[in-house]
């Protein structure tokens, strides 16, 4: 069995495509190249092998959901629910992405070069060395990092097709009780949830930012110096127990 396997996905039903991939993974294929992908859903869902996959075209919803290990590079746009409840691995999108990406993510990395939709990175959580990371190079919609319980979310607002839009929508970090959100530039407190603390950070002095921003820049061949030119705003949880006083015991 060859180690690199190329599939022309043109016209293949998602279920057949995914079955074929699962079978090939079981046979030991370590690298896939998928061409002409056109909306096929659930690619690499639940796969637990450390394989690599390059996707040309636009993969469908739930790319890499529940996956635990693979590295996916999409040379095109992504759709909704990328990295849904992802355990580990890396997904790189060389374009835009849809809504609700990285829902409940608990490890690994999701790099989106350009804009992403609403409710990105909601309910992310971390446990010990498992710290999920999402970086969006463009802008994001409302509810970025809602219910955030752990991990790191970064939005740069640099590589965007929406020049007049704000970098983040409303309700940024609403319900946050763990993790950190970094926004390049300024964020108004009225955009944030009431559970958020806000402070300015110099990216050159923040070890978390330096490491993952370098990786992001290398992945997309963009200038790291340009990215860290501006200060970031860090949004953090004021308490691990935002609703502790809501109830009568």
């Amino acid at each position: 069995m060859k180690r690199v396997y190329e599939i022309d996905a043109n016209g293949i039903y998602y279920r057949d495509l995914n079955k074929k991939i699962r079978d090939l993974v079981a046979q030991g294929v370590k690298k896939f190249i998928l061409r002409n992908v056109n909306g096929q859903r659930y690619i690499l869902d639940g796969i637990r092998e450390n394989i690599e996959m390059d996707i040309y075209g636009v993969p469908g919803q739930d790319l890499g959901a529940f996956m635990d290990g693979p590295t996916i590079r999409v040379f095109g746009d992504g759709q909704d629910a990328i990295a849904n409840t992802m355990g580990n691995g890396k997904i790189v999108i060389h374009g835009i992405a849809g809504d609700v990406c990285g829902y409940g993510m608990r490890g690994g990395k999701l790099f989106i070069k350009e804009d992403a939709g609403y409710r990105i990175g909601i309910h992310m959580k971390e446990y010990k060395d498992r710290v999920p990371v999402i970086i969006v190079g463009g802008k994001v919609g409302d509810f970025f990092g809602e219910y955030m319980a752990g991990g790191v979310l970064i939005v740069l607002g640099m590589f965007t097709k929406k020049p007049s839009a704000p970098i983040c929508g409303d309700y940024l970090g609403t319900g946050i009780h763990g993790g950190k959100i970094y926004v390049r530039g300024e964020v108004d407190s009225y955009n944030c949830g009431k559970e958020c603390g806000i402070k300015k950070v110099d990216p050159k002095k923040d070890n978390v930012l330096i490491k993952i921003l370098r990786e992001f820049c290398e992945e997309f061949k963009v200038s790291y110096e340009e990215v860290i030119k501006e200060d970031f705003t860090m949004v953090w949880p004021k308490t691990k127990r935002p609703y502790g006083n809501l109830y009568a015991y």
Partner: protein, 507 residues
């Protein structure tokens, strides 16, 4: 000036202690996690802080000399049909705290219980009844989507099934242990349920708190849940169970999320839920990736893809006004099993106002859903599991006659291992060692004994179901499914009988 809150003056329970019998052994003091009992060495007597008593009767059970009796407080307000004691005490608590009132277990209000208005038929003369002690009586149940038709082909002279059957769950009783999370209850109870499920050949449900590593070996008897908080949900977990359940709603708290307070997130729970110790575990009210039937389909198929189509996917909803329309959407979205949880269903914590006023009885939702799926010709495509207030084998049987394939039992499960329905699960101080993760309390549950009690419960219900089936002249539970002609109603309105699809007794 002496000051005490009103809630310490007016309270629900009164601890009666027979001073002649009491030997000051202080067992009650050690057993009560609410610190009701205390020892006064100067007088060598035991005292009680009555207002702290939750009425669980653990002390009464443990008292070696039978000197304790927990009674309702005789002292009362002037009786008032409008302002009941419940309303008055709730108001006092809220004026003191400003908080949402919490409760545990299921709705305890005096709404009509439809199970108690349904009677079961029996055979006389023309169609003989069957003696279940001497004739085979089939309770085995298969849950999952059944094909519209079966096709066969001949291979080498033998007839072979050509139709591909989607994955099915085989259970030996139409009863499963309902979803209660590790966190809401402790590992000893989970292990007890897992061991009992294995011995009985049925399934237990993990609830939404993940699956402890030591219970993976019980995977074939486990339904793993995927709820909006996605706690402990990962590829290995999804593949560990026999089926996956998407929890949309819960009968005790339809439309709202869950909230395991940070102080309950111990090291072992943090490991299983994969969140930091001491952090709140919040389950959002909706799954934010599901805003439509199409979105639900997306999650169902994401789960099926992640498990290579080897496991049935179940969708659990709370019984609400338009359950029938929702259920047909769920069936068409590709679910293999629909779970309908009625408003009597239990919970570890719910706002009292939601538990007592939101949702509808499981009986009505079940009848409506079964009928709707039949009318649309898709009843075979999905199994129905009903839960929320199943108290005994008669309820199970009536549920099956109304159209259920099986039932989940939660409150009954907990009572089988010791719960006395004090409704204080949300405090984490359960004196029976069930709804608590305090190691001192949790060790009051021995998994082996819990398993034995659960096995006894389900076996006894199984025998009773067989007895009734025998009386009905039926030798397989399958023949009773949706067989509403074998039920009659008593004390119901015409409209209620129409919804339940049953005739009045005497007709």
């Amino acid at each position: 000036m002496l000051f005490k809150p009103v809630s310490q003056a007016f309270y629900e329970f009164y601890v009666k202690r027979d001073k002649d019998r009491c030997i000051q052994c202080r067992v009650c003091e050690r057993q009560c996690s609410y610190e009701v009992h205390s020892y006064d060495p100067s007088e060598n007597i035991m005292n009680a802080d009555h207002h702290k008593c939750v009425g669980c009767r653990r002390c009464e059970y443990m008292c070696p000399t039978d000197s304790l009796k927990i009674t309702l407080n005789e002292s009362t307000f002037r009786p008032n049909e409008l302002w009941t004691n419940f309303h008055r005490m709730a108001l006092i608590k809220q004026r003191e705290t400003g908080g949402i009132l919490l409760t545990g277990m299921g709705n305890d209000k005096p709404y009509k219980i439809f199970w108690d208005h349904l009677l079961i038929d029996a055979c006389q003369v023309t169609n003989p009844s069957i003696d279940p002690l001497r004739e085979p009586m089939e309770l085995r149940t298969y849950l999952g989507s059944k094909p519209d038709k079966l096709e066969f082909e001949e291979l080498e002279g033998k007839l072979k099934l050509k139709t591909k059957i989607t994955p099915q769950l085989k259970i030996e009783y139409p009863i499963m242990f309902g979803a209660m999370s590790y966190g809401a209850i402790n590992l000893n109870v989970h292990r007890g349920m897992a061991m009992a499920a294995k011995e009985l050949g049925i399934l237990y449900n993990t609830g939404e708190g993940g699956l402890h590593k030591s219970l993976y070996e019980y995977g074939p008897w486990t339904i793993v849940q995927c709820a909006s908080g996605r706690f402990g949900v990962h590829a290995e977990y999804l593949n560990a169970g026999a089926a996956i359940e998407i929890k949309i709603g819960q009968g005790a708290k339809p439309g709202i999320g869950g909230h395991l307070p940070g102080e309950k997130v111990t090291r072992a729970i943090s490991e299983t839920r994969m969140i930091p110790e001491g952090s709140d575990a919040l389950s959002p009210a909706p799954h934010h990736d599901i805003y439509s039937i199409e979105d639900l389909r997306q999650l169902i198929y994401a789960l099926k893809e992640a498990t290579d189509y080897t496991k049935p996917v179940s969708v659990k909803i709370a019984a609400v006004h338009n359950s029938a329309a929702i259920a047909t959407g769920i069936a068409r979205a590709g679910a293999d099993i629909i779970v309908l949880d009625g408003f009597r269903g239990g919970t570890g914590a719910s706002p009292t106002i939601i538990r007592d006023h939101v949702g509808i009885p499981a009986e009505l939702a079940l009848a409506a859903v079964d009928q709707r799926l039949r009318d649309e010709g898709i009843r075979n495509s999905v199994s129905i599991v009903v839960s929320g207030g199943i108290r005994g084998s008669a309820d199970v049987l009536k549920a099956i006659a109304l159209g259920a394939d099986a039932v989940y039992i939660g409150t009954a499960t907990l009572q089988a291992v010791g719960c006395t329905l004090c409704q204080r699960c949300y405090t984490g101080k359960c004196p029976w060692g069930i709804a608590t993760n305090d190691p001192y309390l949790a060790k009051r549950i021995n998994p082996e004994i819990a398993a034995e009690q659960l096995v006894n419960l389900v076996k006894s219900w199984g025998h009773e179901i067989q007895e009734i089936l025998g009386a009905l002249g039926i030798n397989a539970l399958e023949s009773l499914r949706g067989n509403r002609l074998r039920l009659r109603a008593i004390g119901l309105t015409d409209k209620e009988m129409e919804i339940l699809g049953v005739l009045p007794a005497g007709q």
